[in-house]
């Protein structure tokens, strides 16, 4: 082992500090603008000189019907949760088959999933726009859930296959030898072992849906189904004379902070999920 000198510590401290600053600055900056009162918006200061919560109040004023933000927030949460649930159920079936059963076409499914992960979503926007209008799916929750499902499944399948391959499936039989029914063996042994992987895949799929912008602005036209990223792009100020900067920043903070807290709590899982299958194990 090399000697660790104080110079080493100093150099590593600088490196770590740089990474932390790099990651945090935009977030702190958004919080800063969201707290600035309108007259201080143009002060060009990174740290606000006075703090006001007016931007947050105006987001929620008027309740669901009048607030520009509450309905998109409900849409974002609802659409992401429904997609995540369906995606994880379908992907779990598929990943179980790929990880545990032997059948022709297994590699084809994995290759197809990979191809879809690389597919440019813009290429499907035009046809979907046309089809959704004919099928009355345009500007509905289902109209967004369907494409999100398609594009999140490859991610979910890959993460779940990587996790399911690590599960010691023999334990299921061992439990049955010990007198457990097949159902007990599955629920008491396999489900607890699979849960962390399923949960990880769910987080990644949720973040994927939460982040989408292209489908959200192309396939919606009103607050009936517009999600937060799309609503932010069409935000207008309180009156036509005020820029929506403060409101956008406040809304951005509201949708960002919970996700960051969540990501930080489950960081080990997320890192494992993001890199699952990246290296042959």
């Amino acid at each position: 082992m090399e000697q660790r000198t104080s110079r080493d510590y100093a150099l590593w401290s600088i490196a770590i500090l740089l990474v932390v600053v790099f990651a945090l600055i935009p977030v702190l900056w958004l919080i800063s603008i969201s707290l600035k009162p309108p007259e201080a918006l143009a002060d060009q200061r990174f740290i606000p000189s006075s703090v006001s919560f007016d931007n947050y109040k105006s987001l929620f004023e008027g309740g669901v019907s009048d607030s520009p933000f509450i309905k998109p927030l409900i849409n974002s949460i609802g659409i992401a949760l429904i997609t995540t649930t369906i995606s994880i159920v379908l992907a779990s079936f598929c990943a179980y088959a790929i990880a545990r059963l032997e059948f022709p076409g297994k590699r084809l499914i994995l290759a197809g999933a990979l191809a879809i992960a690389m597919f440019p979503p813009i290429s499907t926007v035009g046809p979907l726009f046309d089809m959704w209008r004919a099928l009355h799916l345009y500007d509905t929750w289902l109209g967004l859930i369907i494409p999100y499902l398609t594009f999140s499944l490859p991610l979910a399948i890959y993460v779940l296959v990587a996790f399911f391959r690590e599960i010691p499936w023999d334990l299921e039989q061992a439990a049955q030898v010990d007198g457990a029914t097949p159902f007990q063996a599955f629920t008491k042994v396999i489900v607890p072992l699979a849960a962390p992987g399923v949960f990880t895949a769910a987080i990644l799929v949720f973040i994927f849906c939460w982040n989408d912008f292209l489908f959200a602005i192309s396939l919606t036209s009103s607050d009936a189904s517009r999600t937060v990223p799309a609503a932010l792009a069409f935000f207008t100020g309180e009156s036509s004379f005020t820029a929506p900067t403060g409101s956008i920043a406040a809304a951005a903070v509201v949708v960002t902070v919970p996700i960051i807290v969540f990501v930080l709590i489950f960081q080990r899982r997320i890192v494992a999920g993001l890199t699952a299958g990246a290296v042959k194990g």
Partner: protein, 304 residues
């Protein structure tokens, strides 16, 4: 336990039922994946061969390849291709260097690895549109703090020119996606046997030599896969440009062009031709990576 394929005798009926079960389990996911990819791309090809403008619904007619010739002979398409490729190459190159540096810090730091990993995940959790707004507000001459920094002119109008807009777009994209690159590279980094470094050190190799002679060659597969996924992702750049410039001042990417034709101008025929061409570009990039550089896709994974 894995069953053997094509096992003879009493196993064959079991194998057959296993196949059937496997297909039943996979079918819903496969159908859901094809529903919004295979069918729409086929439909896009059909649309691209017609004159379909939703503003003039009665004037639909067969167009042959005229939509394609219109796109391919327009200077807008080639400007947008240049913009997209320029942004793609610069972002991915910066990300590779930065991502590698962060991966090395996460792997080798003598303390504080947890802090680095924690902070690196923050950009990953943030909506791309939100990140784009954060950087836009930071650089906007009226509200931003950037022009207040030393060495930067107080009146610099970042969004007043093409390449200064690109600089901000690249910064936002790099910030948002470097963590993913760093984590993929870290996953490759941890598989390298530490003894190789020890041996090289005994033989007197410098830190730089150890990096270029051991780390880089052994990480080639991981690097190629990370590059492939990030390159394809960067080629699709849309959110950041839409928020920052809406494609003004010649900063449009091909995805923005497609969106403008399809959704803003409702010209489904011309827009679909753009969509199909983008699809072919993505296919070409993937082909170059797999055939040209030998990226092994079965070691890869879909991007987050």
């Amino acid at each position: 336990m894995e069953a053997k394929t094509g096992a003879p005798g009493k196993n064959s009926s079991r194998t057959r039922s296993e196949r059937k079960l496997a297909w039943m389990l996979c079918a819903p996911a496969v159908v859901a994946m094809l529903l919004v990819t295979a069918y729409p791309i086929a439909y896009a090809v059909v649309l691209s061969l017609q004159n379909v403008d939703l503003r003039f619904p009665d004037e639909n007619s067969f167009a042959g390849l005229s939509n394609y010739t219109t796109v391919l002979t327009s200077s807008l398409w080639w400007t947008d291709i240049f913009n997209t490729v320029f942004l793609m190459v610069t972002t991915v190159a910066i990300e590779l260097v930065l991502g590698m540096a962060i991966a090395l810090v996460m792997h080798r730091a003598i303390f504080g690895r947890g802090v680095v990993r924690t902070s690196v995940l923050i950009p990953y959790g943030i909506i791309t549109v939100v990140a784009a707004f954060a950087w836009q507000f930071a650089f906007a001459p009226e509200t931003g703090f950037v022009n207040n920094l030393p060495l930067i002119s107080d009146n610099m109008d970042w969004f007043g020119g093409r390449f200064s807009s690109f600089a901000v777009i690249i910064m936002a994209e790099v910030w948002k996606t470097t963590p993913f690159m760093a984590l993929l590279l870290l996953a490759g980094l941890v598989t390298i046997d530490d003894q190789l470094y020890e041996a090289a050190r005994v033989d007197g190799a410098t830190a730089w030599q150890r990096f270029t002679r051991i780390t880089l060659p052994l990480m080639k597969p991981a690097i190629l896969v990370a590059l492939l996924f990030r390159t394809l992702d960067a080629f699709r750049v849309f959110d950041t440009i839409f928020i920052m410039t809406r494609g003004a001042l010649d900063t449009e990417s091909v995805s923005i062009l497609g969106y403008n034709q399809l959704i803003s101008r409702l010209n489904l025929g011309l827009g679909s031709a753009v969509s199909v061409l983008i699809f072919l570009c993505v296919f070409l990039i993937a082909f170059v990576f797999v055939r040209g550089f030998g990226a092994k896709l079965d070691e890869g994974r879909p991007g987050g």
